[in-house]
């Protein structure tokens, strides 16, 4: 175990982990926005919207994220989509996680007791009002944990962008391994940093969950 190697290279691992954090946070934001649109589609009364949302979700959940990243990054230029690796990574991961987040959100909404909606509608609230005032506040609590699981999956999955030349935590590790020939030390450092990130998400999720439970 070469501890001085870890010491010498650690600042670069922190920089790389920061790239991983940035890419994950931006992809989560994009994913959340797209997920809202997808949920609206899934719960829409218009058949076409329902079908489109379903199609999106099954395509993005049914193909590997790696393939999606390759299509966006390597295939993009052929349809005039010239993206920097970082941007391609955010878009690829974001569009992918959106499909999973949409199902988490929809699951939470449909898990709210249907009696709540019936009662709301019977006393004269409209469909939108019912969703906004009655269903969503109750669903919010139910979606925190599933969305947290999505976020953790995204952070770990962000290692995939190393294949499209984003020099994040995993690619930095691989680069150092090839010059130091010390895979054990280097992978341990990167694993440790991933754990720190994942636990940060868990901490936030626990906090939010407690807040909502207290109400």
């Amino acid at each position: 175990m070469d501890l001085t190697l870890i010491q010498r290279t650690f600042p670069f691992f922190l920089e790389a982990a920061w790239i991983t954090v940035q890419i994950s946070v931006l992809a989560l934001l994009l994913g959340f926005l797209v997920a809202i649109v997808l949920v609206a589609g899934r719960l829409s009364t218009v058949l076409t919207f329902r079908c489109l949302a379903r199609l999106y979700i099954s395509v993005f959940r049914g193909t590997p994220c790696l393939v999606q990243l390759f299509i966006i990054y390597f295939g993009g230029p052929q349809i005039g989509l010239e993206l920097e690796p970082f941007a391609a990574g955010v878009i690829g991961l974001g569009l992918n996680i959106a499909a999973y987040m949409a199902e988490s959100i929809r699951g939470a909404i449909t898990n709210v007791d249907p009696g709540q909606e019936e009662a709301s509608r019977s006393i004269g609230f409209g469909r939108g009002q019912t969703l906004w005032l009655i269903t969503l506040p109750q669903a919010a609590k139910l979606m925190i944990r599933p969305l947290g699981v999505n976020a953790v999956a995204l952070i770990k999955g962000s290692a995939l962008v190393s294949t499209i030349s984003v020099v994040e935590l995993s690619y930095t590790a691989q680069r150092f391994i090839s010059s130091t020939y010390k895979p054990f030390e280097i992978f341990m450092v990167s694993a440790l940093l991933y754990i720190v990130m994942v636990y940060s998400v868990r901490f936030i999720v626990d906090y939010l969950d407690n807040r909502f439970a207290a109400r």
Binding site: S165, R175, S178, S179
Partner: protein, 262 residues
């Protein structure tokens, strides 16, 4: 394993699609856009010591990096080195993510269908590495064993073409050396220089088998460019020849490799 196969398949099909498209489009020579932006973007893996690797300041250095800098200097532009995994490096070139590949890439007929080459800018021979107590003594013993190769390189093709080897592909040499030591593979097949540098560094007990010329095949490494760029190709070829003639090349080669590998 599956994802690697899948990945190479996807990369291969992207390459094919891109090649198909790029030949049908008439475009200006890349040389002009490089001169306009005063910057040439050059790709390498950054995982191939001593040709391209991250030093402890996390900068990409090595033979390929120095050659890139010297070429750019002669062309009067700045160099931007981009690190990208080797198995997708041609796909990235065709997708215009960078202007050239200087990544110790063997010039092969298959690759020449997709890209143009400047060079060769160095030559290397094939080496077979085994544990020092291995029963494999010569190339003739290399059959019905598991060999490790770098995914998508020329030795990968060579090992598969022999037909009597079980081939396992890796991202890079360090993982192969670990697996050789652990007994997961019986031999490594790759270029001689990186192996020699690596075992000197790690002190790992290995034996080097140099195959006879017929199978050692001294191979030429080229600088890959997108097709239909005659001006860029001529400019880089001239810059390379000037470097070879005036001693710049020899200095770089001595610095990183310890001998002249032209």
């Amino acid at each position: 394993m599956l994802t690697k196969k899948l990945k190479s398949l996807i990369v291969a099909s992207t390459v094919a699609a891109a090649a198909l498209l790029s030949t049908s489009v008439v475009h200006a020579d890349d040389l002009k856009s490089i001169q306009d932006s005063k910057e040439i973007r050059i790709a390498m893996s950054g995982q191939y010591s001593p040709f391209s690797f991250a030093n402890e300041q996390n900068q990409i250095v090595g033979f390929d990096a120095s050659i890139s800098e010297a070429l750019a200097e002669r062309m009067g532009v700045k160099v931007k080195i981009i690190t990208t995994p080797f198995d997708g490096i041609i796909a990235g070139l065709l997708a215009k993510k960078y202007d050239a590949i200087i990544a110790s890439m063997t010039i092969t007929p298959e690759r020449q269908k997709a890209v143009d080459f400047v060079g060769p800018y160095y030559h290397a021979g094939r080496t077979i590495v085994v544990k020092d107590d291995s029963s494999i003594k010569s190339l003739d013993d290399l059959k019905d064993v598991v060999v490790g190769v770098t995914l998508g390189d020329a030795h990968d093709k060579w090992a598969r073409a022999r037909g009597n080897l079980k081939v396992r592909t890796y991202k890079g040499l360090p993982e192969m050396l670990v697996d050789l030591e652990a007994g997961r593979i019986d031999a490594i097949v790759m270029d001689s220089v990186p192996v020699l540098v690596a075992v000197k560094e790690t002190g790992q007990k290995v034996r080097i088998i140099t195959p006879p010329d017929s199978d050692g095949g001294i191979e030429g490494m080229g600088i890959a460019l997108r097709k239909n760029n005659p001006e860029l190709k001529a400019t880089m070829q001239k810059a390379l020849e000037d470097m070879l003639a005036d001693g710049t090349y020899e200095k770089i080669s001595m610095k990183w490799i310890g001998n002249d590998i032209r």
